[in-house]
């Protein structure tokens, strides 16, 4: 009996290390086997998609600004769907960038989706987007600056959905309280400085704008500066940009201009709405925001003042991207054609306050929204985000330095941004 029991116990004694090793081997083997298996699956599904059946329903993914936009897009898509006889389903993304990334990685992205200017160059470069610009009927009707934003390697990849520009928003009550009249609306930098100083009181800043290129870039444009030159090469470290940053720094140090966070607000529109700022530099979206959150504010929208080199503003836009992996690109292009038509763009404009991306309805739009004409007038002198891969990182690095502009050195900022931009746009 003792003999009998000795055997298994001795075996068990040795077994522990062996089984541990065995377990590890099993795990590693499983990992090793599963990796290629997964690779095979990933590759396989991609292969199927390419050779898959054409046609089928369209999946549309949008990053909506709110219920109004969602409803407008859904209505438009279902109108197209019943007309074209192709099923289409609109989903609202909780996090558009992340959901698109997952779609592209899995080889099964939505067919049609919003693409921001930030992510456009990356998606175009990695081949996720289907360049369909040459299949659109009236490409020349898009504002040229908008088309440029979505042109990569000399190809128009996607159709601008709509756009916004920046203008000067003025609180008319604060304006008249300071003894100013309509004639005093600033048209030059000097006048802007004067009225901002006049409007500045103990608990009200004259002017507020976000600490970012997306606002301060307007001054660079007015001074004749830009981020990149016509051949998309970095051109930040210029006397024009230095003049603009120095002017902004002066505004900030004099106290006439403040960043929204300095007055306890999240963005310029909030600072303006709460009365912490009498003027702000914002885009079309400020109209809806003020209507919702601060309905009692009386305001007027005027063009931004001209700088040493004339007028200048920035534009913001999205485009209708179509996935390179979409099995139904033909229907997708047809849908985009419909969504960017003059009639549909005017419907969107009345639905959720954007500006049509095509020039042919400009007058109609101004007739409908005369009080916002300043935004559309800016289109001619507007600069957009350059379509360069990696530009978003450079801009966010620029913004990080702009946040410290008040105590910073404008020249050092430009030098540093020039070198980081040269890395992506030589």
């Amino acid at each position: 009996m003792t003999q009998h029991r000795t055997f298994p116990s001795a075996g068990a004694g040795r077994r522990t290390p062996r089984s541990r090793a065995a377990r590890l081997t099993v795990l590693l083997a499983a990992g090793g086997l599963a990796l290629p298996a997964l690779a095979a699956c990933g590759g396989g599904s991609g292969f199927d998609d390419e050779g898959g059946e054409a046609g089928g329903d369209l999946e549309i993914l949008i990053g909506s600004s709110g219920d109004a936009e969602t409803a407008a897009v859904k209505d438009a898509v279902s109108a197209w769907s019943s007309e074209a006889g192709t099923g289409a389903n609109v989903s609202v993304a909780a996090d558009l960038v992340q959901q698109l990334s997952q779609g592209f990685a899995s080889g099964n992205p939505p067919d049609v989706f919003y693409v921001s200017t930030d992510s456009f160059p990356g998606y175009a470069a990695n081949g996720s987007l289907f360049p369909y610009g040459d299949q659109l009927e009236d490409v020349d009707d898009f504002y040229p600056t908008l088309s440029e934003t979505f042109t990569f390697d000399d190809q128009l990849y996607c159709a601008p959905k709509d756009f916004s520009t920046l203008a000067l928003v003025i609180n008319t009550d604060a304006w008249s309280a300071a003894g100013l009249t309509e004639d005093d609306y600033p048209t030059t930098w000097e006048e802007l400085r004067t009225v901002a100083t006049t409007l500045t009181t103990g608990d009200q800043a004259g002017l507020a704008f976000g600490p970012e290129w997306q606002r301060i870039g307007t001054f660079m444009a007015q001074a004749g500066g830009h981020l990149v030159d016509d051949s998309l090469s970095a051109d930040v470290d210029t006397p024009e940009n230095l003049e603009a940053l120095t002017y902004v720094k002066d505004l900030l140090t004099s106290g006439a201009a403040k960043f929204p966070s300095d007055v306890g607000s999240g963005w310029g529109g909030e600072a303006f709405g709460t009365g912490a700022a009498a003027m702000t530099i914002e885009g079309n979206w400020v109209i809806g925001a003020l209507e919702n959150d601060f309905p009692d504010i009386n305001y007027v929208v005027v063009p931004l003042p001209e700088g040493p080199a004339g007028p200048g503003t920035l534009q913001f836009t999205n485009c209708w991207g179509i996935a390179a992996d979409s099995p139904n690109q033909e229907a997708a292009v047809d849908l985009v054609q419909y969504l960017t038509s003059a009639e549909q763009q005017m419907t969107f404009a009345t639905g959720f306050g954007v500006m049509p991306s095509i020039q042919s309805v400009a007058e109609e739009w101004k007739g409908e929204f005369p009080e916002q004409a300043a935004f559309l007038d800016g289109a001619e002198s507007a600069q957009g985000v350059p379509p360069i891969e990696g530009i978003a990182d450079v801009i966010s690095d620029f913004n990080a330095q702009i946040e410290g502009l008040k105590s910073g050195d404008p020249q050092a900022t430009l030098t540093s941004v020039q070198s980081t931009l040269e890395a992506v746009a030589p």
Partner: protein, 406 residues
Amino acid sequence: MSTPATPPGTPGGGALPTRRELRRRELRRRGRRRAGVNRGQTGAGWLFITPMLVILGLFLVLPIFMALWVSLSDWTGRGSPFAATTNYVGGENYAELLTGGGLAERDFGTSIRNNLYYVLIVVPVQTIISLLLAVLVNQRLLKARGFFRTAFYFPSVTSSVAITVVFLFLFSASGAVNRAVAYLGVNGPNWINDPRGLLHIILGAFGVDSPPGALQEAPFLGVSWWNWLAGPSVTMTIYIIMAIFTTSGTFMLLYLAALQGISGDIQEATLVDGANAWQRLWLVTVPMLRPTTFTVITLGLIGTWQVFDQIYTGTRGSPSKTTLTPAYLSYETSFNSQQWGQGAAIAFILFAIIVVLTILQRIVLRESDVVPKRKRFRPTGEGGRSSVVPVGPPVVPVKPPAGGAA
């Protein structure tokens, strides 16, 4: 199958066994017991843990290997990372981050700097506070102990997103905190948008506003010495305060459990030996809590190096990238900038940092197992026993199970 529950048998009779024989029998007995339990149940055991192994393997181990591959590849985010279009690039992504000289390196260096200060402050402070809180709520004399335990633990069970939002409100330029300090006649800073480093502010108070020439060089990760020495920014201190506030309660619970495992006999013994309250805490309780301290510091290190959701909900790296952390930068680089390889590489460098620090900390805490002479408790006026206090991790006031059924 022999019954596994059989208590270890009595030693076989016969002549008096030698010591060696006894030892052999003991070993045999243990082995037999283990074998008996294991043999029949191994299969069942594996069966039971298979679902967990499959789930962990599929959703944890495999993704880690995939991420490792991505960090070594030029995957652009389109299609499977194992497709033929993805190429192996070796350590290129790592090199770009560590020695690239560009924006990627500087951002990574900045994020490491930010997180380093965060860890350096949060881990020690939260460990000390949680220990003190645990000792406090462990007092038998304390009234309403239950209330205090709940109150201190409460921040830990609240979602970090909710707490972040509340903190951002509290610390906004015209928020409650600034109103409160205004009563004291202090002009509070603009917490959410103040990129100045604390050390820079202190240096500024002594008139050092700009970096001396020697500190302007940037030999390490593209960040100049002057900026390495910035300290946490004013905005980062919000997160530091928040982390201490929320996690101290969690670790208090760990300490509390450990404190309750210390038998009252030991406290009594030290009382008899004439130790005062401070000596009892510092020379008896704290050394006995060392295993818990190891756990608390390890968990603290891991948690603080991985800080992500507060940053994501809150400032997303602003102002001036002073709240950028490696975990958030990894997300940002991957999803927003489509640099998947670099994003994965950041995650693995972060992993390496955490592993190295944990090992270091383990070594440090293990070496101090031998109590230095000066720390030994000597009862006053007695030359007899030098150390009356049992010190070290294995000291647990539980009867040793070696004797088997007892």
